[in-house]
């Protein structure tokens, strides 16, 4: 069965990738100046305290031994304990990663809702005023620093109009959605700009394709032509880009999370890097890598569904 073999192959490919990432992140965090202990203890730490705590954390052992412990724990599914927060890393990830996933998912959805119709509009009226206006607007969205857009949205839709909460995450699913809307929109703006650009040119490439002409020659409705013949083919190239962008978003929502006070994985990651919380950085990196790979796999599957030619 080709689908199963396709998925299996992708999962097998994931192994070398993960091993590579495992090594890189392990080395990288240890190359960072300072160690967890002085990062946590801060300026007041006395040498004796630092030494004692390092010993307690096992940081005085050789790197090889530490790596061995790390690899072993990864394979047993135990990612260790956070040095600063003193809770299991898996627990932290389980708490924070879903938030980022929800945020990213919403951003992706909003981006699609914004980009797809407007890409159609721009493509079908290419060269005209509507096209220019749409592309211009998205360009502005693409060129604005995230923290700036975020603050403006917060001020306008949060503080001034009161339509959305000013940051935070809320309680309960509906409330989460309500809270995450503005940050998701912020993330979505640049994503949708990228998608819009790509989809627009894909549509332009497709609307004049012979098979669309042929579909028109069949006398079927314009709506059917756009949705079944144009969109589906135009999406094929966009889907890959979309997957890639979502992958980037998953690991890169830090600033948005900070501005909107969303307790997501991005912030946890940055806090942990700053806090030299090795186990958290390592664990989270692995988790993100797996998640991103799964995203890629899903987009590939979607692409394969859209385009029967790629499924071998």
């Amino acid at each position: 069965m080709p689908l199963a073999s396709f998925i299996l192959r992708r999962l097998l490919q994931l192994i070398p990738t993960l091993i590579f990432i495992l090594i890189v992140v392990f080395v990288l965090v240890r190359l960072l100046p300072g160690d967890p202990t002085s990062a946590i203890l801060g300026d007041r730490a006395l040498d004796a305290d630092v030494e004692r705590i390092n010993r307690q954390l096992g940081l005085d052992r050789s790197l090889v031994v530490q790596f061995g412990v790390f690899v072993q724990s990864v394979f047993t599914g135990d990612l260790g304990r956070s040095i600063s927060l003193k809770v299991p890393v898996t627990e932290l990830i389980a708490q924070r990663l879903p938030i980022t996933m929800l945020l990213t998912g919403m951003a992706a959805l909003i981006a699609l809702v914004l980009a797809v119709p407007l890409a159609f509009w721009a493509a079908l009226y290419r060269g005209r005023a509507a096209d220019t206006a749409i592309r211009g607007a998205f360009q502005v969205g693409l060129s604005m620093p995230v923290f700036y857009i975020g603050l403006i949205l917060l001020t306008v839709f949060g503080a001034k109009l009161g339509w959305f909460p000013v940051g935070g995450y809320g309680d309960g699913f509906i409330d989460h959605l309500h809270h995450l809307f503005l940050p998701a929109l912020t993330l979505a703006l640049s994503l949708s700009a990228i998608i819009m650009r790509n989809l627009r040119s894909a549509i332009i490439g497709v609307v004049d394709a012979e098979y669309v002409q042929f579909a028109r020659a069949k006398g079927i409705s314009a709506r059917l032509i756009l949705l079944r013949h144009v969109l589906r083919n135009a999406l094929i190239s966009t889907v890959a880009l979309f997957g890639l962008s979502i992958g980037t978003l998953l690991g890169g929502a830090v600033i948005t999370e900070t501005v909107f006070a969303v307790p997501g994985a991005g912030r946890l990651m940055v806090d942990s890097i700053y806090g030299r919380d090795y186990p958290v950085v390592q664990g989270l990196t692995i988790a993100l890598a797996v998640l991103v790979s799964v995203t890629f796999l899903l987009t590939d599957l979607f692409q394969a569904w859209l385009d029967p030619r790629v499924a071998r």
Partner: protein
């Protein structure tokens, strides 16, 4: 013979970034019932645009004028709704490249079904049955399995057959075939041409057959029209034109084809290249390449004259052409 299609002064322009371009220039012809008209000409001469203009299958920046009278109604003035019924319904089209003309991401069955849905009142089940019949009709075995396959799983000849099946789904009265065999091998071309001939007989269709292969015209068409630079320069029955071309261009074309007995001798080629439609020479568009050209050819565009029964030509010097005799011995 009853005339089903009457094209009068059809002109199609494209507004491009580098100025307007007349792709089809004042083309008139008519087509009888069950007749196969061959439209020949070299690449870029406007064959495809002519064909597509008949059913207004043109990009929005194209402008059309003239009349295309189909069963008493001018297609060029039809409402979009009526046009939709004509397109794919009464008039179907098959394209040159089966690989690009079939949507790569939709199963063949769905692509046939689309047409059935648009033009028949059949139920889902009936459409399925009809689709299988159509696959049988065009000679694709194992129809049931093939219907759920995608174009890339078909060979070139199969794809062309599938496209014909789609075109025939609605029992069209007129089939527009735009170089349906150019991309195919001779043995497959042979099969497809014969399929079209058979279908014409069975379904009593008329066919306009675009090609640049004179052999195909000779083997399949009743009448032919030769296009050059957006105009029809010569029309006549296939037998007449092959026996005695009256336009210097037609004569040149016939002479360019290698013939038995002349092996390894120079061919009677036409010097130069066909003009770009955005830079058509003044006067007769063919004059820079024409051995018969005179002053008048450089100055004025020749009108179409009826020189023999059903044999029309747009050439100032057709008499001189006729006098040199046929290139075909």
């Amino acid at each position: 013979m009853k005339t089903v299609l009457d094209v009068r002064n059809l002109t199609t322009r494209f507004a491009g970034p580098s100025g307007a371009l007349v792709a089809v220039n004042d083309v008139s012809f008519s087509l009888g019932e069950r007749e196969i008209l061959g439209l020949v000409g070299e690449s870029g001469s406007g064959k495809s645009v002519t064909l597509r203009s008949l059913i207004r299958l043109l990009p929005s920046m194209a402008g059309q004028s003239g009349e295309v009278i189909w069963q008493g109604r001018d297609i060029l003035n039809m409402s979009p709704k009526d046009l939709k019924a004509v397109r794919g319904g009464q008039i179907s089209m098959i394209f040159q490249e089966p690989t690009t003309a079939l949507n790569p991401v939709l199963p063949i069955g769905l692509q046939i079904d689309e047409n059935l849905r648009a033009h028949t009142k059949l139920t889902h089940r009936e459409r399925l049955i009809r689709a299988r019949e159509l696959m049988d009709l065009v000679g694709i075995p194992e129809a049931a399995r093939r219907l759920s396959e995608y174009p890339h799983q078909f060979s070139g000849g199969m794809k062309q057959r599938a496209m014909i099946a789609i075109a025939l789904a609605s029992n069209p009265r007129l089939l527009l075939a735009d170089e349906p065999t150019t991309a195919l091998d001779v043995t497959i071309q042979d099969q497809i041409l014969k399929l079209i001939l058979d279908l014409r007989d069975e379904l009593a269709m008329s066919v306009i057959f675009v090609t640049h292969d004179l052999g195909v015209v000779a083997a399949t068409c009743d009448r032919m029209a030769v296009m050059y630079a957006g105009r029809i320069v010569e029309t006549g029955t296939v037998a007449d034109v092959f026996a005695q071309p009256m336009h210097a261009y037609t004569r040149g074309l016939l002479g360019s084809v290698p013939r038995v007995g002349t092996e390894r001798s120079p061919l009677m080629s036409i010097e130069g290249t066909p003009p770009s439609l955005s830079a058509i020479p003044q006067g007769c568009a063919f004059h820079p390449r024409c051995d018969f050209a005179t002053e008048i050819c450089r100055a004025t565009q020749p009108d179409t004259k009826m020189l023999a029964a059903e044999h029309q030509v747009a050439c100032h010097n057709s008499l001189a052409v006729v006098k040199t005799g046929s290139p075909v011995r």
